[in-house]
Amino acid sequence: MISVFKLGLSAAVFIGGVGLITALASLSIQAPVPRGVGPWLAPFAISVLLVVMSLVLAVQAVDGTWRCEAAQTSKTPTAIMPILWLAGGVIADILVIKPLGFIPAAAILFVATARAFGSRSLLLNLAAGIALAAIIEFCFVRLLGIDLGDGLISLAG
């Protein structure tokens, strides 16, 4: 009995799709080139190669020759909570960094990530996150002159 490697098959389809899109996009690159090849050729050729590879990958996904980590059946189901915490932290970081500044955004990301990995000491992590972010902002902005943006709470300027 051959079970189809579903993740692999979807990945192959995804890759093939990307290849098709980039191939089509390449064909619409125009440039007046008097002689020689234009800027469309290389992206097109690579896209075609990518589509061909995706077909081979699809075959491998179906006939079971695709050996990888995801293909091994594991007993422990993938935990969902970590993804939610990570995603939440990332989204919050992106939303908050411009209005509130680097330090609050980084602190939130720190706490959310630590929680994603199972650490439940919320206050401790919050303190650590704020401290880390403040140190980073101090070192990079003040000492090295790197721009980490403004915001409500910022050491810039």
Binding site: G19, L49, L50, G64, L86, A106
Partner: protein, 508 residues
Amino acid sequence: MDSLLHLLHGFAVAATPTYLLWSLAGVTLGTVIGVLPGIGPSVTIALLLPLTFQGDPIGAFILFGGIYYGAMYGGSTTSILLNMPGESTSLITAVDGYQMARRGRAAAALATAAIGSFVAGTIATLALTIIAPVIVGFALKFGPAEYFMLAVLAFSTTTALVGQSVVRGITSLCFGILIGFVGLDLQTGQPRLTFGVMDILDGFSLTVVTVGLFAVGEVIHLALHPEPNSEGSIQPITGTIGMSRDDFRRSWPAWLRGTVIGFPLGALPAGGGEIPTVISYFVEKLFSKRKNEFGHGAIEGVAGPEAANNASTAGVLLPLLTLGLPTSATAAIMLSALQGYGLRPGPFLLRDQPDLVWGFIASLLIGNFFLLVLNLPLARVWARLLTIPKPPLLAAILVLTTVSTYAVSQSTFDLMLLFVFGVIGYFVKRLDFPQTPIIVGMILGPMAEQQFRRALAISQGDGTVFISHPLSASLFVCSLLSLFGPILWRRLGRSPAHTKTNSVETGS
């Protein structure tokens, strides 16, 4: 000899207090990240890139070189003490190194690794010094057709000789090349593959892609698939770290053999430092009179591979500095750094930027010395690093990735890209796509294309120019061999007995 004079000049550049501090910082940072799993020299250098563009290129390169060499040392410490290699190049060291530690011989293992790395790194760097000008002289005859074929050779070796699957290697490579193509075409100014999105008109930032794929991807992977608590107890180090006479007698030939294996293999576009270490291990086993000790704590099994991986690190620098050809992901990132500073990589680099190149090479020798002095006494400290609890450590790494990305352009779009690439990186790991070809493709792809179009422009549209030039043709043949050779090799090796065992296996 000319090279040695250049090198002395390099020492004059590198031995200034500021640059010595940079070197010390680099090797220390490198050792730390070598110890920590999940984060490696390529990601670290990519992380630091935007932060160093403000400063001076020589200092930055001395830092990067220190990180590169330091990571090799750090990886071996954890291999020996904890059976947890911090770097893929230290995988083999763990085999006999950990066994030595379990038998109370951790001190000797660490000593042979550190001294062997120093010896190999020094010899290999000196070899680099002497051979580099020779290669440069030779490379000045290269035209665009030859450069294109050189890039093709790099492509074919990094896809075909690394990892299990050529198909997945080529897929990674194509993906990387396409990422590299996004943005404005250099010759005509036409936007390519930008799909109307203004933010990527300049292309994808190398830092965002590398850090996203490797670091963020790794964090996501660890969150979803936590590693079982493999923290075996840290093996105690009894006594001062040093070797007995007997250990030394057994080690030094292994060091020399490792150097000879590591340096040329590192210089070849074969994608990394793992292959030389594996070959060194098997060579040591082959030549040893104590074969049955291997796997149970044979000191040669540590000495050889450790020497090999440091020598291969110097080997990788040879094509990078002389031809502008990266043969590993870290080298590709350093190449990108050169471009970022407005320096032109290639044979002219040696001539146009002697301070940078020779100062850099001299700093490697200095850094190597620092590493020897640091690592022997501080090994216990480095091992302690691994007792830092994972959640805050990984959270800190993730925050650092955002710093680097945000510092480039203060753009939340880049932050989003960082995490998108992180998700892609997660699947790349899960589905066993090799990572090196993505980076090499992204950096070399556009360069190769430029050379291709230039070659055709010079030959006025004549496509046979790639085969009519003898050098270009031979490089092309090498590429074909490296691509199809392993497959043919495997086919030839298949005997009836083989196919029987294979058909039993495919049940999984």
